[in-house]
């Protein structure tokens, strides 16, 4: 009886996995399809990748995305690590609310409020406003990963260091920091992925000045489905996959910390 039940369950579960993966596989397959329509398989081609690499707008968008991603990753990691430490060490009221709410509310709310804010400050919307916004919503994710790493740390190691004469700063630099480093690296990679993937907040804070890859993809697929989007999607998926592999090598357990 048990095996019959689990057969049914495995069947259902495989269908769910299929549901999760099939659409993405189709995107990849059609990026090599020699037809404009994304409908029927015609033949193999690298044409769409060629078009992609000669698309000046797309390349600018890719460069912008990388710059914003790197800046966001560095700043959000520093601020998020501090926030994670503060939330672990001290009983604070305001900080946890400010750190966690941006994660919990629909993104569009943060997008529009930042739009009003930047316009009121007479700031020209562009790379700077996008990066400032990305940092704001990434801090929370880094803080959570770092805090959970701290919670799993053996506090007696720090006490031992202090007993042996280390100053608080030394104890932090020589004991705590190396121990939570995997969490910090995971947080940095996470902030980078979140930033290069973000569409909603970028959409509101980008203005006419700057485009990123998600914005570029959005404006392309709003008009028509084109295999060039399949090509860039395939490359982005490869990039994400590479980041995950790096994360699992540099910081094993980091991927688990994120879920």
């Amino acid at each position: 009886m048990h095996s019959k039940q689990s057969k049914w369950l495995w069947g259902a579960a495989s269908l769910v996995y299929l549901f999760l993966y099939l659409p993405l596989i189709i995107v990849v397959v059609y990026s090599f399809n020699d037809s404009k329509l994304n409908a029927e398989w015609v033949g193999f081609t690298f044409k769409w990748y060629e078009i992609l690499f000669n698309d000046a707008q797309m390349l600018t968008a890719a460069r912008n995305t990388l710059i914003i991603g790197l800046v966001t990753s560095v700043c959000a990691t520093v601020l998020g690590t501090l926030a994670g430490l503060a939330m672990y060490k001290y009983k604070l009221r305001l900080l946890p609310v400010l750190v966690l709410t941006p994660i919990a509310i629909p993104e569009i709310l943060m997008g529009v409020s930042l739009l009003i804010f930047f316009v009121m400050l007479n700031m020209t919307l562009g790379l700077v406003s996008i990066a400032l916004s990305h940092i704001a919503f990434c801090i929370g994710f880094v803080a959570i990963v770092v805090r959970s790493r701290l919670q799993g740390m053996d506090e007696s190691l720090v006490e031992a260091a202090r007993d042996l004469g280390a100053t608080p700063v030394q104890a932090f630099r020589l004991v705590t920091l190396p121990l939570i480093m995997p969490g910090i690296i995971a947080g940095a990679l996470m902030a980078f992925t979140l930033s290069i993937d973000d569409f909603v907040i970028t959409f509101f804070t980008a203005g006419a000045g700057a485009s990123t890859l998600p914005l570029q993809i959005y404006s392309m697929i709003r008009i028509a489905v084109t295999p060039e989007v399949n090509a860039i999607s395939t490359l982005l998926m490869l990039l994400t996959l590479a980041l995950i592999v790096i994360a699992s090598k540099v910081a094993p357990g980091a991927i688990k910390a994120q879920s």
Partner: protein, 308 residues
């Protein structure tokens, strides 16, 4: 002692300041904007005005123009025109349906992962998260390809329907497409908390129930399901809340009548540029989310207590 306080400020100060400046203050400004008038060229009416008598720039409130300063008009508009309330209801319906479908798909999967051998679990969980790490727009786009009228899927569905005598249906740009894609992009949010909960269940309970004569159905509804309620509520909150505020999915696959609150908010800010009314809509969405999050926490807690 003073050193400790200094350390506390050095550590918590920078993120606190940053989030005050780029999260709390913008949110407060948005709340304030909901009580203001739209400007002549979109955006907000400026707070400063040139006084025609003196030629000096003055705050509106100093110039005695209280009536131009703050208003409840934007809120009245929201409550007076039923269109807006209906759109809220529709968005709730979409998000609710999405949540229920996600739950139905995620439960067997999460249960199975939780019951599979320990060494396989991490891999099975990773396989759920992996597609979710690809860009959000790519995941939406993939369904635009599948549901497109020229695609194999739409063609075969319509061929089948044709046999029964029902005319060709449009899959893309429909309510159906919105729900389907909402389910697709939110599914992992349901699987993960459910799995985290189901993994902790004590399997001896099920064996005991079986020994006492409970059949599979009874074992599920009287043991597994009540115990898993905290996970269910956590997953429901993680799916419902982002789905409620979604604007890209209806925008891309919903066509003209598939729109949700998010689309209306986007419209107010970017197209018709009525920021005060856009802010009212955002505040209403925020209130809805806060209420739901509070409710989910309460019920989740209650569920846990009842189950234990």
């Amino acid at each position: 002692m003073r050193n400790n306080r200094l350390a506390k400020w050095l550590i918590s100060g920078p993120p606190l300041l940053y989030l005050l400046l780029f999260f709390a203050i913008p949110s407060a400004i948005m709340a304030f904007a909901a009580f203001r008038f739209p400007g002549d060229y979109g955006g907000l009416l400026p707070l400063m005005n040139v006084n025609p008598d003196t030629g000096k720039t003055e705050l509106l409130i100093n110039a005695g123009n209280y009536a131009d300063f703050l208003t409840l008009e934007n809120f009245t508009r929201f409550f007076q025109e039923p269109v807006f309330f209906e759109l809220f209801l529709k968005s709730f319906w979409y998000a609710g349906l999405t949540t229920v479908i996600c739950l139905a798909l995620a439960y067997p999967l999460a249960w199975l992962i939780a019951r599979s051998p320990k060494k396989h679990r991490d891999l099975l969980v990773l396989m759920v998260i992996l597609p979710f790490w690809s860009n959000f727009l790519i995941r939406v786009y993939s369904w635009m390809i599948i549901l497109g009228p020229q695609g194999y899927f739409a063609k075969s569905i319509n061929a089948v329907l044709g046999v029964i005598g029902i005319g060709p249906v449009q899959l893309l740009f429909s309510h159906f497409a919105v729900i389907l894609v909402l389910v697709y992009v939110h599914l992992p949010f349901m699987v993960l908390p459910l799995y985290a909960n189901l993994e902790k269940h004590d399997m001896n309970l099920l064996d005991a129930a079986q020994d006492l004569g409970a059949n599979a159905w009874q074992r599920f509804w009287r043991i597994t399901w009540p115990l898993s309620l905290p996970g269910v509520w956590a997953g429901a909150a993680l799916v419902f809340i982002p789905a409620l505020g979604m604007f890209a999915v209806p925008d891309l696959v919903g066509g003209t009548d598939g729109i949700m609150i998010g689309n209306l908010i986007k419209q107010q800010f970017l197209d018709s540029r009525d920021w005060p009314f856009g802010s009212v809509l955002s505040i209403m969405l925020t209130l809805a989310v806060l209420m739901l999050a509070g409710l989910a926490t309460l019920i989740g807690r209650g569920g846990k207590r009842n189950a234990l």
